[in-house]
Amino acid sequence: MRFDTFSRSATVGLLAVLMALAVACSGGAPESAATPTVAATSAATAVASPTTPPLSGKVTVFAASSLTESFKNIAAAFQKANPGVTVEFNFAASSALEAQLKQAAPADVFASADTANMDKAAGKSLIDGTPATFARNLPVIVVPADNRAGIASAKDLSKAGTKIVLAGPDVPIGNYARQIIDKLAADPAYGAAYKDATMNNVVSNEANVRAVLAKIELGEADAGIVYKTDALVSGARVKTIAVPDSANVIAVYPIAVVKATKNRDAAAAFVQFVRSSEAQALLEAAGFDSAS
Amino acid sequence: MIGVDIQKRLHAFTLDVQFDAQHETVVLFGRSGSGKSRTLAGVAGLMRPDSGRVVVGSRTVFDSTRRIDVPPQQRNLGYLFQQVALFPHLTTEENIAYALTGLDASARRRRVRELAELLRIEELGARYPGEMSGGQQQRVALARALARPVDGLLLDEPFSALDEALRADLRAELVRLRQDIDVPIVCVTHDLREAHLLADRIAVLEAGRVLQFAERTGVFHHPASRQVAQLTGVANVFAAHGLGGRRVEIEGAAFEVPQAVAEGVPVDVCIRAERCLLRRTDVNDDLPPNCFVADIASELAFGNAYTLHLQAVGPGPGVEVDVASRPYDVLGVATRRRWVVELPVNDLHVMPR
């Protein structure tokens, strides 16, 4: 008897808790909307010209993982200037985003970390018009903060027993990393054996740049190649080692409106805003190099 | 031989049982819940008593004071469970051979055949338990229990799950097998007839205690107390007073008894219903002692026998009398109400009150 009433009230209590949680979670604003940690720029002047009606609706932005923090800040500024618009994000490897766009995933804007993926999208008529470059980035080598493996330079990557984590070959940063290794192997100071030795040390091909970063922060791997902007995000949790200039590649970030967008005006406005001085300042603050 | 003296605190009562079994069959008889199966489990080692001693053959398998507790695997006792419990995933042959791990294949087969012949289950060799009747299963279980040489056989209400016909069949089987099985047998049952049929000695249990442990005739005809008498199906138990010498008074009438009872001493006197005699009132021969006139108050017709309740006319007790069907017809019980009831002296038994 006692157990019956106990189990009944326990069930009711559990259901109540679950319902409360459901309400609480749905009550909040959409998760990926930006939370303001805005840089102080004044004059949140609307980018739209005075005669056009105010923008409204949702803008879904597919952006490379390396843009996570900066784009959230940019979106906050954009939303402040255009109160009727909500910006939602899907951050992932640019190759994954392109694959999703191919499967007609609903999106309004596509910001890629390399031209290769943008070109693929353009080749499949997934984007409108010509993509515009809005930022550049530079790959760097990162190691855990305590650097137990004692990696001091790019050359150490080929040391036997070093555990290297890269992004997959189709992910922009993964592609850039492999290009860098190829270039270094072509340099007589490193030698042709450098490539095999280094690639042998690769223990995982992660899905995106943030996954690589996570493994380095955790100390699970000895070294990885990410963008210098990512290294800044991790701060003291990782140490950065520069890639020799001669071998480095410049990551070019294009942005475009998705052809199947349901909110063309707001999407175009967002793209323009990203190229505006306000957004550029935010990108620079995050460590990106300017578009030109 | 098997010697048992164990105590265990149980939920409803404390078990405190003593008995022994030599080259004989001892039946633990009692109602459901009287502790008989628990006792058997204690002998087999499936239940650990709080204190006491159990001896099997020449070995002490349990002794609480000397911290001896031999596990059931090593007590060398055959055990027949109430719920048969043949291994459902093994055939009859495999079940019987289960305990014969020490033998090689041909020796095993020989032994299985021996037992199958003994228990008349030769044609059941390849069958699974699910394909056999209850009676057949019980025979297989018995064969299995006897497969390896044992120092004793324990049977826990082995026939209670069977219908009457099968029960009779298997009881007869057991009696027949007695000659081939030369070890002490302890059998638990709540069936009186079965107890008498199988037993050399009977231990009557009630609420965990042995009320009487004696030869079966002793228990049946000379119960130790009113309680034992009632448990063993004695219908007539009278409260009486001694009259000195070999006489007692029951409900105002004097009766002669086999034992001397001092004057005024309160006793119980009992006689089994089937030992009472009826005489017609119109017969004028000299009447033996312990006769009195009584009228039939009620009658239960069981087909093979009749149970009559007679009430004394004048001083004397109410008596239950069993009359078999032929005597019933010959005497013409159906046609008369008044009878002379005789309680034969030597069938009366005096018990302390």
């Binding site: 490897a93 190759s95 994954a96 694959a99 191919k102 499967q103 555990k163 984590v165 997959g168 070959p169 189709d170 992910v171 690769v202 223990v203 995982s204 091909n205 992660e206 899905a207 493994k215 955790l218 100390g219 699970e220 791997a221 | 087999a44 080692g45 499936l46 596990p71 059931p72 695997q73 090593q74 007590r75 060398n76 006792l77 055959g78 055990y79 469970f81 719920q83 048969v84 419990a85 291994f87 459902p88 995933h89 289960y98 305990a99 791990t101 699974y128 338990p129 699910g130 056999m132 009747s133 209850g134 299963q137 299995r144 229990a145 497969a147 390896r148 799950a161």
Partner: protein, 281 residues
């Protein structure tokens, strides 16, 4: 005797009574069946039509992933049996304090999202992890190895085996074990000759559940073991990697088809084994 006769007779009664209920339950059942079948059939058809898919079907990329998946999930099953059978028996028959707690612990991985399992395993067995660091001292590296894959699979799939087997053991009448004891057979041999055979249906179905769960494990593997062809890239991981790579949907379809076929074959084999065991007991 009575336990089996009930099983022999209900057919007659059941067939007659099921009819009206059969009609009522038919539509939702068919709908659900279609819901499951249609995507699989679509997958097969698309794969057949798409030329790229047929090319990729037996590429090294796919074969490496297939071999890795089959090997790791089988090893996982073996380990699950080695540790799970005794555990299941103790949980079923044991009377010890903390038994309830242990049961909950065993069931926990089933309730947790696999990604949580991955994070937990990383924290424990990663190079800087509580246990992982000690292992590194001894020269044992777990992260980014096939061992990590097996650990991740074991963590999420072993509970299925244990729970199924525990229920199986609990359903066995303890009287059988007592009978065996009185027949002079030791406890261990009783377990091997009576208890385990009687629990065979539960063992088989638990093993199938465990093995399929291990085969399809993704979240924990991704986080804990990494993604490297031939070493840690199991089939599920390969599918995601292909999908997001230049191979795209075609690549994903190819691997999915291979996995579908392999899994179906193994399920059929397992079913046959189950039917044989049920027939004999």
């Amino acid at each position: 005797m009575s336990t089996n006769s009930a099983a022999e007779h209900p057919r007659v009664v059941a067939v007659r009574r099921a009819w009206s209920l059969g009609w009522i339950f038919a539509s939702p059942s068919l709908l659900f069946g279609a819901f499951v079948l249609v995507p699989l059939i679509a997958l097969a058809i698309r794969g057949w039509q798409d030329g790229q898919v047929m090319e990729r079907l037996l590429s090294p990329f796919v074969l490496h992933a297939l071999r890795l998946s089959v090997v790791t999930s089988t090893l996982t099953l073996v380990l699950a049996l080695v540790f799970g059978v005794p555990a299941a028996y103790l949980l079923a028959r044991g009377r010890f304090r903390g038994r309830q707690l242990l049961t909950i612990l065993v069931e926990l991985p089933m309730v947790l999202p696999p990604t949580v399992a991955g994070v937990a395993l990383l924290v424990a067995f990663g190079r800087r992890g509580a246990i992982g660091a000690a292992l590194v001292e001894m020269g044992i590296e777990v992260s980014f190895t096939t061992t990590a894959v097996i650990l991740a699979q074991l963590f999420v799939s072993a509970p299925f085996l244990v729970r199924s087997l525990q229920a199986g053991f609990e359903a066995i009448d303890p009287t059988y074990e007592q009978v065996s004891a009185t027949l002079g057979v030791s406890e261990l041999r009783t377990f091997l000759r009576v208890t385990l055979p009687l629990a065979r249906p539960a063992l088989l179905s638990g093993a199938v559940l465990c093995w399929t769960r291990a085969l399809s494990e993704l979240g924990a593997t991704l986080i804990f073991a990494g993604n490297f062809e031939g070493r840690t890239q199991t089939m599920p991981l390969a599918i995601i990697t292909a999908f997001e790579s230049s191979a795209g949907l075609s690549g994903a379809i190819a691997i999915s088809l291979v996995l579908l076929v392999v899994a179906s074959i193994l399920l059929v084999v397992a079913r046959l084994a189950q039917r044989r065991s049920r027939g004999s007991s």
